[in-house]
């Protein structure tokens, strides 16, 4: 399982590094979305709002949707899908590998957007630094959930539009927990309950993915 996971993760990351979709499409989209949130807040609030953490996660959710879709598209041409299916890869390994690759991509985008939040929405740099561990774990949980939901919609009718419908309700607790943990880091408040939500979600999605990804692939 670990061998296949590593193989799949390396393959996905290599494709991403070569195609530069993350660099030229996803990161600019995220940066623009972050700017738009500032415009939506209005001139009075754009630079001094406490909404920075929430807006950061909102933008990250949209970015995650793009990247989950992209992660599934790699195998979506009929020929590639058939060829890969005939390799008979261990589904748990495929799930872990795709989750790992997506997680790394989300981390890279997350770090850029976190810097953007500090720069554009004037979120305190020290607080953003303190929030970093919770951001990384929350994005990890998003990656695990996204890989699972991505496989559920892959190849179905209107997969790109169905994906947000399935993902966003499941992402809601991660958005809440991530935002609260980030805000708590800014105000030096308690945040243990938000870690509970994020860690439980991460463990649940990874566990379910390992157990049930094969059922989705088998289909």
């Amino acid at each position: 399982m670990i061998r296949i996971a590593w193989l799949v993760a390396k393959k996905d990351l290599r494709i991403e590094a070569r195609s530069r979709v993350l660099l030229w499409q996803v990161v600019p989209f995220g940066a623009m979305a972050l700017l738009l949130t500032g415009l939506a807040l209005g001139p009075a609030h754009a630079g001094n709002s406490s909404a920075g953490p929430g807006l950061f996660y909102l933008v990250m959710l949209f970015v995650a949707l793009l990247m989950i879709n992209r992660s599934q598209v790699l195998e979506s041409t009929p020929g590639t899908r058939a060829s890969i299916a005939t390799l008979g890869l261990d589904p748990a390994g495929v799930f872990l590998g795709k989750t790992l690759a997506l997680c790394v991509e989300l981390w890279v985008t997350g770090l850029v957007l976190l810097a953007g939040t500090v720069l554009v929405l004037h979120t305190a740099l020290h607080g953003a630094f303190l929030a970093l561990p919770s951001v990384l774990v929350t994005l990890g949980a998003l990656a695990a959930a996204g890989t699972l939901y991505g496989a559920m919609t892959a190849g179905g009718e209107g997969a790109a539009t169905l994906l947000p419908v399935l993902c966003l309700p499941a992402f809601a607790p991660l958005l809440i927990a991530g935002e609260r943990a980030f805000s708590a880091a800014l105000t030096h408040g308690g945040l243990w309950e938000w870690w509970v939500i994020v860690v439980v979600a991460l463990v649940a999605y990874v566990g379910v993915g390992i157990l049930l990804y094969g059922v989705l692939e088998e289909s």
Partner: protein, 217 residues
Amino acid sequence: MTPSPVVHLRGAVALSSGFPLLSGVDLDLEAASLNVITGANGAGKTSLLRLLAGLLALSSGEAEVCGVDLTNGDLRQLRRRVGWLGHEGSFYADLTVRENLRFCALALGRPTDEIDAVLARVGLSSRVDTITKKLSAGQRRRLGLAWLLLRRAELWLLDEPYASLDDQGRTFFDALLADVINAGATVVLSAHDPLRATTLRPRTIGLVGGRVREVAP
């Protein structure tokens, strides 16, 4: 005792969106044989190959491929034993030729030191580090053959393999098929017309309306 056939289908029906791609196929294929499926567009050639690869669900009837029951058997095990070459291009377009083959070899637990020999065999040695999407259609087809050689599949399923091949490519491909059949593999390929090659003695299976209409010889 007669050896059991590699493919055994009885009344095999396969659907897609309610449409019967296959409408009751009866077919037996022996090991180490070359079989050509012919038929008009929409006759069900690709669907039959996909069914044999365990990539299309059997809706009704009986089907056994390489000893695996398509209704209740372990389809993942079956898929590992077949080699599929579609006409759409079957690789990661952003990986190089070597990276694609390396992924295939590592995924199947095969040694990666066979890659160079396989690439030399299909005439792609000079394209080892070329990104796959930059290959011509014919070169991609050769990469597909390298992928299959590396896999050492028991059952080769080739969807219109002669498309995009020039005369030299066709001759090379006929020789390759003869070798893999001699080595004990079974080959099933689809083509619009019966095979023109003179060196091979294929069995031709004519499909009409998702069913086998004629088998020759």
